[in-house]
Each structure stands twice: as structure tokens, then as C-alpha cells.
Symmetry: none
Subunit: 205 residues, 4 copies
DNA sequence: CATGAATGAGTGTTCATTCAT
DNA sequence: CATGAATGAACACTCATTCAT
């Protein structure tokens, strides 16, 4: 995006190294059990080095979440815009999310591990930088509103509630998939149809 | 249920005291931020006393989850059996779960905070005592299977996946409800109809 | 002073143990180089134990200073009141201070090491509990005022400045004494006369 | 003094830059709270550069003290030699010291903060380079000896003790002055008379 | 049985010092 | 020479767990 000199580029590379290591460690242990030393070792840096790039453990953690969510949203938006009607947009959104999570399983672990903590525990440390999450939900809401306007989705249900439900259905399916034997089950994105159907038509006959 | 002497009864009473305290503390701080001293103080016992009734922090935590889930299932089973057809049973199950969580908000916090951790982190400490959760899902699966047999629910979808989805929809709604201004929104169990509808018929028009 | 049960008494004893250890360690290393582990080890307690009795390193440090200064003042006041005229009072004050510091050499090290830091660096942590020092200087000022009223000391000099000067002369002499070979020089309180003379009559002929 | 080539001159200039920065930083934070990075940044050099000119933090610190004390002594000596009699010399010494400290308040802060640490803590790192202080006290002692020979000062008191006392009285007065509202109180060197009087004639009537 | 004081391993974080560029 | 990123030892402080009373 922006032109940067070698120094700035190297800095970004190292920051990325550390984020990658943090992703693994947080994913396998969760926030509290992960130690900065774990992460530093995983990234093959000294302990102190981590602090050159992130103010503290919390900042590292939220940087990670932010980066990933941002990239998920950006990708979803881009792909979504190629479709015309709201129904297709929704379907693409579901598929792209599944693709993303399939490619980012360790991030998914983190997301699932802490998403509720984030929402329930009102930590002061959090609020600052965490508009990303709001943007994410706002985006899904927008998709749903469009679908309502196009008469694809019932108008009497609140878009924000529907957005949460769609997200939770997807979460549930991804979780199921991660727990199953991956070789047998096939790609996660094959679940798109099922999720889409469940969301639009439910389980009823 | 079982006959017990005074000694055993007292022991159970104290165990319950501690579980009640743990429920509050875990609910407001989450597992890691809660300390045994917090819990002991809240229960008006000495720190060491907690260890007379629970092997360690983890055991206390899972005892709590187990007890609550057990009571949720028991209650749901009992109420559910009063209905004849599968559709009604499902509706009752949903309603009773909502009632339970409305009465046990702090447990719900715990459940939401850690439910994913429980499933994702394969902790050696966990596996032992955690058959309850399986029983719970098994029970919902059974309800769904019945509904499939009675032609209320599509037969081509897996009961276990549908069970997870139903649970996640309910979780999503409860979370929404806890976050909103309780006085305005009314009782949680009023959401029964909406959830039931979403699950059976989806959001589509 | 106050009646206390065994528990409270034991607690005070342990607090005293730790204060004694802290006195040694701070005295030989200064505040920053002293570690809590040093102090705990010296007191033959575990690291964490220190924190049962003192909020943090700072609190321990100031507790120590406060306790010592308080005891110095109390003793000085008591002995001083036995004399009638201001001149005698001043002399007794000087002697008693010397006796105190001779008996509390490691405290004197601490006092000298940090007294200026205390006065120069306006630390927020300090201000709260540090009225003791003010009381101490106030007391010396009062002695000097009395001496001025009794025409023993020039009235045109400010009592507070004179108090500081007296204190600094004493500090200087005590420092000299600690540095010299104690066996040869004799007791510190033998310097009373010299200090008293220097303060009243100066070095001039 | 000595002829030096450009290289050597530049080196001295840079050393001086760093010493100036160190003076500010040490004065406002004290030895332990000051960091090499603070100093380097203040001096507008890289962190590593500091180590090209000073072996370590300690060496930098003592270089600073040494330089300042040296310059104080040199100036005092020079001005002092203009007077003939010992009494006048002493007075000039006091005045010049006050002038120096008034112009070097941040150094004074450092001096007061650590002067006792220096004398009390027998650090291996210190001893090497610290003959300056001895020279300084030796010089004051010499002044006092002269005054004794000229019958201005009592002969029965030890010159070294008197030197320390004079220094401590001056320190006390300077400290008082720095703490007061400078605009009201006027120049520090106006205290010369008072100090001289206190030293020669004491506070007595 | 009940207690809560004592413990010390373990964590996040800082900073003097080094060294590749 | 100059740099400043990297390092890792060190420290204050917490808390699950134990055990003497």
C-alpha cells in the first residue's frame, strides 16, 4: 500500500513474525496460559524483543485479533461486491468466511476461545482499539438489511439479532468441522449450502 | 435421593456453599482472574477449606459446570416428558432452557465465557468428569431424532449438527438479552417463539 | 500499649522480623539495589510472605523509616522534657540523637542514603504517610524557638534554617564517626560537646 | 591546555554533549531511574554511542561528578588566591561555591541525591576514579588550617571535621534555597554572610 | 475438620549492554 | 565511528496449594 523504506519494511516483517508466533501460542493455550516467553521463543526472538513491537501482552493480543478480523472483513467485502442480489451476497459471505477460517484454523481457535470473554467482560484495556469487531457485525447487519429490502428475509426480525444468529450457526459448524477427522469430512466450505439453508429455511419440513 | 447421615449431609451443604460462591466469582471475573481466596471469602470459609471439598481449582470449576448442566437437563427432561408430540417437546425444551438461564444468569456468563475453551482445549484435567456435557447434547439429539421420525424436521440433516445449531442459536439470543436493558426487554422466555421459528423455518421469506 | 491477642502479637512479631531484615538490606545496598528476595531470605521467610505484611516494596521502605524516626523523636522528647532551660534541652536533644544513631547504625546509613532523595524527588508514593519527618523538624524548630525566647540563640536567624543546620552538623559528625575506626575513636555521644559548641559558638576564635 | 588534533577535539565535544545530557537526566530522576536511552535521546545520539565514550552507566555518572567538582575546585582556588588573609579566603570560598551551585542547580540535585551513597556504599566501581572528592576536601582543609595558623579558627578542632561541617552547613542552606520560591528569596550568594557567621560564631548569643 | 499464614514457582516487564550493519 | 535493534538476566509481585495448629 504505502511506500516504505527497508527499515520500515523490516520492522513490519518482524512484527509479523511475532504476530505469527503469537497466533500459534494463543491458539493452543488461550490468552492466560500463553506466556510472552513462549511467544518469543516460538518467534525465535529474545523476550525483550516482543516489547519493541508491542506495548504489552494485551496489545499484542488485540493487534492479532484486529489484524485477522480486518483481513476477514476486507476479503469478504471484496468478494461480496461481485454479486448483485442480496441472496447471492449472503451466500458468498458465508462461503468466504468458511474459506477464511479453514485457512486460519489457529485464529479460529483464538476467536472461539475468547469471543465471549471479549463481549462479556468489559475490560478497559479492550475498548480503545476494538472498533473492528463492531465494523464486522455492522457489515453483516448491512447484508441482512439489504436482503430484507429485497424481500429475501423476513422484515419483522431485527437485523442485528439475525446477524448474531447467522454468526453463531457458522461458528457452530466450524467448531464441528475442526473437531471431526478432517480427511474424511472434506473441505469446510462445502458446508456453505447447509448453513445457508438452515439460516433461510430452518430445519423444519 | 440417597439416604445420608448428618455427616454426609453437612459435607454436601458445605460443598454447595462453596459452589454458590464459586458461581458468583467465576461469573464476574472468569476462570483465570478468579482466585480461590475470593471464593473462600465469598463463601465465608477459610482458604484451605475449599481444598477439603475440591481437589483443586479446576475440579471446583468443573464441579460447578457439571452441577448446573445436570440440573438444567433434569429439569428439561421432566418438563419435556409432559408433552406428547416431538414438536411440542422441542418447544418446551427451548422455553425451559431460557427459564433456567434467566434464573441462572451468572452461570450463563460462565458457560459462555468458557464453553469454547472447554471444547477446544484438550486438557487432561477435563476429560475425566465431563460426561455431563455429552449427556446434554445426547439428549437434545434424541429430541431432534424424534422430531425427524415424526416428520417435523428434515431427515437429511444430522441430528448432532442440528443440536449444536439449536444450542448456538439459543446462546446467541441469551447473550443478546443479557446485554440489553433487562427492564425494557421483558422476560427471556418470551423469545421462545422466535427461536423456535428460526430453528424450524429460518429467516427466509 | 494496646492489649492484643496471641494472633495479633505474632503478626506484629513477624512484621518486626521483616522490618529488621529490611533495615539490614536497605542499609547495605540502598533502596534500589535491595531486592525483596534479599530481604525475605535475610528474614528467613518466603518471598510472598513479605507481601502479607507490606503492600509493596515502597510501603515496606517507608514503614521502616517511619518506625525509626518515630522512635527517635519519642525518645528525644521524653529525655528532653526532664531539663528546664532551653540550653540544656538542646544539649540533651543532641546527645540523645547521637545515642540513638550509635545504636541504630544501619538505620543511619539508610537515613543518610535517602534523606535527600526524599526531599528532592517529589514522589507521589511518598507524600501520603510521611508526616513523621515534618513532625521531627517541627520539634527541633520548637526547641530552637524556646532557646531564642530564653536569649540563648540569636533572634535574627530563622528557627527552621537553624534546625536544618543543626541537623546537618550532626549528620556530618555521625558520618565521620561511622567512617572512622570505631575502636579508637570511642563512643559517638562523646561528640555532644563539640557539636553543641560548634552550633552555639562556631569555629571562630 | 594540551594541544589536540581535530579528532581528539571532536571526541571531547561529543563527550561533553553526553555529559550535559546526563546532567539533566540524572538531576531530574536520580541515578537508578535514569536510563541510558533517556540520556542518549536527550543528547541526540544513538544508545550505543554513549558506550563509545563511557565504559558503562557508572563511569558516565562518575565522570559527570568528577568534571563538575573539578571545575568547582578550580574556580574556587583561582578566586581564593586573590585574597591575602585566611578569613577572606574562606569567605570567598563560600561565596564562590554558592555562585557555582546557583549556576549548576541540576548538578546540585545530583550531588545532594547521591553524595551520601557515594561515601557510604563501598562500591568497587567507585574507588578507582574518585580522587577528586578527596582533592576537594583536602583543599577546604588546607584553607581551614591556614585560618587556624592565622588564629582565626580554634586550633583544638580537627581541620577535616571542620571542613565537613562547613560543607554540610552550605549544603543545608543550598537545599533550603532550592526548595523556596526563588523569585522572592533572591540570589543564593546573599547567604554568604550568614553561613560565614554561623561557621565562625555559631548561633549562640 | 477447619483454618489462613507461609510458600515459591512463575509471569509480565524493564534496561544495561552488545554487535551487526 | 555511529547506530539502535536485539538480548536476557533480573525484579516486583501474585496465587494455587500445603500444613502446622
Amino acid at each position: 500500500m504505502v511506500m516504505m523504506d527497508r527499515k520500515e519494511r523490516d520492522k513490519q516483517l518482524r512484527k509479523a513474525d511475532i504476530l505469527r508466533a503469537a497466533e500459534n501460542v494463543f491458539a493452543s493455550k488461550g490468552y492466560h496460559e500463553a506466556t510472552i516467553q513462549d511467544i518469543a521463543k516460538q518467534a525465535q526472538y529474545g523476550t525483550g524483543t516482543v516489547y519493541l513491537y508491542f506495548k504489552d501482552k494485551n496489545a499484542l493480543y488485540f493487534s492479532l485479533l484486529e489484524e485477522k478480523i480486518q483481513s476477514l472483513i476486507n476479503n469478504a467485502k471484496e468478494k461480496t461486491e461481485q454479486a448483485k442480489d442480496a441472496k447471492k451476497k449472503l451466500e458468498i459471505f458465508i462461503r468466504e468466511s468458511l474459506v477464511f477460517f479453514e485457512q486460519n484454523q489457529s485464529f479460529f481457535r483464538i476467536y472461539m476461545l475468547e469471543k465471549n470473554s471479549i463481549q462479556l467482560i468489559v475490560s478497559k484495556k479492550v475498548t480503545e482499539s476494538f472498533s473492528v469487531l463492531e465494523h464486522a457485525t455492522e457489515y453483516v447487519e448491512k447484508l441482512i438489511k439489504h436482503a430484507q429490502e429485497e424481500n429475501v428475509i423476513k422484515k419483522n426480525y431485527s437485523p442485528s439479532e439475525l446477524a448474531d444468529i447467522l454468526a453463531s450457526i457458522m461458528g457452530s459448524m466450524i467448531l464441528n468441522w475442526t473437531k471431526s477427522d478432517l480427511r474424511k469430512v472434506g473441505s469446510l466450505k462445502d458446508k456453505t449450502g447447509f448453513i445457508f439453508d438452515m439460516f433461510l429455511n430452518g430445519a423444519g419440513k
